[in-house]
Amino acid sequence: MPSPNSRGTSSPIALIPASPTASLFRKKSPSAMSTAASYLSAVSQADARARKLTDADSTTSTPALSLSSSVTSSSADTILNETSFHANDDGLSYPKVPPTSEQVFQTVHSEFGHCGNGSFRFNSGHQKGEPLKGVEEQEPPHFVLLTTYLSYLLLIILGHIRDFVGKRIRPAAYKHLMNQDGYMALNSDFDSFYTRRLKMRIDDCFSQPTTGVPGRTILLLDRSSPDYNLTYVPTGTRTRALNVSSYNYLGFAQGSGGCADAVEESINKYGVAACGTRLEAGSLDLHVQTEALVARFIGMEDSLISSMGFATNSTIIPALVSKGCLVISDELNHASIRFGVRLSGANVRMFKHNNMEALEQLLREVISQGQPKTHRPWKKILLIVEGLYSMEGTLVNLPVILELKKKYKFYVFIDEAHSVGALGPHGRGICDYFDINPRSVDILMGTFTKSFGAAGGYIAGNKNIIDRLRVSGHTGTYTEVMTPPVLTQIMASMASIMGVAVPQDNKSVVPAHVLAYPGPAPSTALPTWMPLVPAMIDGSDGKMRLRRLAFNARYLNRALRRLGFITFGHDDSPVVPLLLFNPGKMPVFARLMRTRATPIVVVIVAYPATSLITSRVRFCLSASHTKEDIDTLLTACDEIGDLLDLKQAIGERWPLKEIMDRAVEIVNMKEMP
């Protein structure tokens, strides 16, 4: 094995040096040492096993449907321990291709996949000056539309017949839907019809309980239903599946590694709780530090954090707008935005999703007409959009919005829940992606749930605005504060993306131009006790995550279209919706995916979250996926797509093999015709 130093720490493919290096501020904790040591030995075992497996691969066909295990182990190496006595060739717990002796990966493969090939990387970003082009939305053939409508009709008729008969034969089962002894039913049979008669049929595809880290793979707790999805009983077995469902864009959902070490340290130091609200003695130094770091990360003057992403919208928007103000909202905005707007008492107008002409039309109308009836001018107009739409995969057309903003003087609020971390060459979100100064936007909101593997949300903006929100938003006064472990995860993961600037000697400070957005975080911005590994300090860990995610997103988007599927959204979106249309195909797709030799879990979405006909399956990619994982997914889609007749798109098609072989070329094409 060559000396770790000869390779340097900023290797573009981010192979972390094998020897445990001293952390910046502190020696590595013994527990982390032992983890690393046990990991190394496990890797070499894995190495050996994998070699054996690839040899035997052609001769034995192992069912390997589910990794059932009755062993519960609470050690940090659960995943490694658990699979060590199972034949495993699904590539989920161990790489199918064993690592070479120079490659030493410091992540657990099932959490964060091992990928040493430096060409499977890409930089996320938009060519300045080019218009933003999405995939044009393709209409499905008419017979698909027709059968979709007919399916719903059939489902509704069948549902009514079942209700009609059921009420007469088994009245007890309907009792809770009926008014009884003076109480109106909490949920009448009419209100719950959709849930009972349509959703219930495919309910096994939702709310599946899981355990362990929701990383590259996820461990499902298997269940079965004796009564057609009314109730479930756990079967006691567990299935490890490839996870293309969790919001884990940068792969920070990890039980080991730099962030987890930092969180462990914080638990030892701070405990789990902070107790109280920000303005009533719940403020810790960690909150102040995190807010400062978030502001620096986003590139805004100041920021404010809240313990729940949903509540960030629902409790802050009412402090921004009120009666006499107008909110212009994209028709597909998230429920939390609607919730907040409804509470604010402001008027709302919606415009067609991401349609800039419709937006301008609307702006001209509302500004010229003023408030309804009185025609008084609006106090202010706030445009609320999302950076990346989580059901559509579309990016907001920010350059055009900012043009319009100059002319029409509205304020812009962008919900970056899905775009922060996931987009842009520096992971700073939608502004970074378009190379736009974040300060040209008034408010940037986002959540820590998705890219940072944490929880909660933030609002960033000018200091005077943020201070106003601290005082007048509901968050500071009424909601519980974020807990110390969550705060630490946020800081550690952000530091990992940004890199840390350490002053050369103790006296000198890092010059301001180095720290300017989107530069590294000064080490003084982080708690002194926080352990940092070298890959976090030089930013190579974060960079590798960003570049892997960008590659994966572009590859899957383009490959699916080359296979002939109808997808929505932009090529660089890590959220990839694949259209299924027919309601009957949803559960079949999900079940076929889940029961493959390499099980895959997917999210299916239908009405009312989408329009009636555009039922879809949604893949959420992560930096933790490897090229092989995407290939596995593509193979599955290809097979199931043929079975379910999903390849309805017009345009050039390539065979799967060719797509997989030419992946790098596909990703690097400037535009895919």
Binding site: L186, Y247, E280, G282
Partner: protein, 539 residues
Amino acid sequence: MSTTTAALEPVFTFLSYSYATLETSFYKIPGSHVIARYVRSSHQNDPGRTVLEIMLFIFAVRTLLQSRTRADHSGKHFIKFDEKEINDLVEEWSPEPLAADLTPHEQAELAAVPVISGPTGPKPKLITGKTVLNLASYNFTGLAGNETINEKAVEVLRKYGLGSCGPPGFYGTQDVHIQLEKDIADFLGTESAILYAQAFSTIPSVISAFSKRGDIIVADRGVNFAIQKGLQISRSTIRWYDHNDLHSLEQVLESVERERRKKNLPLTRRFIITEGIFDHDGLISDLPKLVELKNKYKYRLVLDESISFGSVGRTGRGLTELFNVPATQVDMLVGSVATGLASGGGFCAGTCHVVNHQRINGTSFVFSAAMPAMLAVAGSEGINILRNTPSILTTLHENVRAIRAILDKVDAITIPSHPASATIHLHARIPSPTHLSPNAPPSPSLSSSGKLSNPLSVIPRDPPYYDYDLEEKLLQDVVDECLAQGVMVTRSKTLRKQELAEVRPSIRLAVTAALSRKDCEKAANVIKAACTKIIGKRR
């Protein structure tokens, strides 16, 4: 003439033919006979009605079609402008700033917020370097910083990572969440429970999941801000009863029932919504009486136990334990895991139907990521500790008594809170020019003896008089003085303009079992001295 008729002949035949096919195909649609019969018979009874119904139908279709991207073009208030006029109007319009700058008063208030350096707990260190006695943070049972919980948390971290990375519906439900839900349900004795990721966001979601436009909610005038938001978002019909006055509640329930009978209104869902221990003043609801009333009038009871869960009862089960009422008598029992178990999130306990309904209709449950696994396990462990260590609650209640024993006698303040409440609110007692004794807490006998308050308005008939700004200032001075003397307390902060009714300024103490009795007495004496010094001086 005849030629035109002849020429039109095929058209007529075609028309009559298509009418016939239309009619037969209409009758082929299942259910069409019913519709036809209905239209015919209603036309027979009242021809005007047919016209009305057709208009209604067209109107309904129109609103359905328009509801999404509604344009006001056709509205009678729409003014038509040409392009140039619009450009001028756009040019002319100048918006207000997005946010008003803070006033010096608000700035000072923000700057006065204490920040803890290091872990919170009964004796935290502030960033100023001072170590203080903490009667401000919600840490009733002293679970914050508990070693067992911390060890468990690290274990969970290594096994689950931190975030759940998804909403509960999409692989965000982990076994530890299911476990905590079960633990809460077992602890309280309900069928089931559901976890939300944040306590504050729990009850608005619970209320709006069940109560819709047209449903009736009877709520206490003093409910907390979260409930107020829930009422607002639900768009239900709200009736108010006087704060913690069940006599007034009964009158309101009676009047609602009378109105329903008089107008012959259909049955709707009806809810009583109140708190266990009130966030605004520490009063405790009379649960047995509430349950009696809700059963009598056939309402469902939504009880917010955000403060009482984990702070009253023999083992901290809350109001139901305190009054020995089975928790199944409360239809939706909402509590805080963050406050009660020193972790994060909130819950709603109830029957399986109540809980499962929320899994699909609870907005902040469905559209938000599940809480981090670590916090769920911390909650479970907290329940475990409370179950096995009843002495925690005994200590807490002794501490409450010790503090009350000292503060009850202070002339400069009044304490509205119930003697058993672990949150103690202090109101400043300043003689006012207009009223002789305006500062007495609103007593039930007072309001019920006179005329009824208007149930449609959140403002009671005789709102108590006080000088908000003055009291707020004095109390803040008391808080600052206490901090200087090494005791951290806080004013109970409220958003004055956003609360439905103004909440009287108070200092809120949150007593903890983690402090010794001696420390509690010491802290109480500091508070006493500060009150006497600052408020007493004014008297």
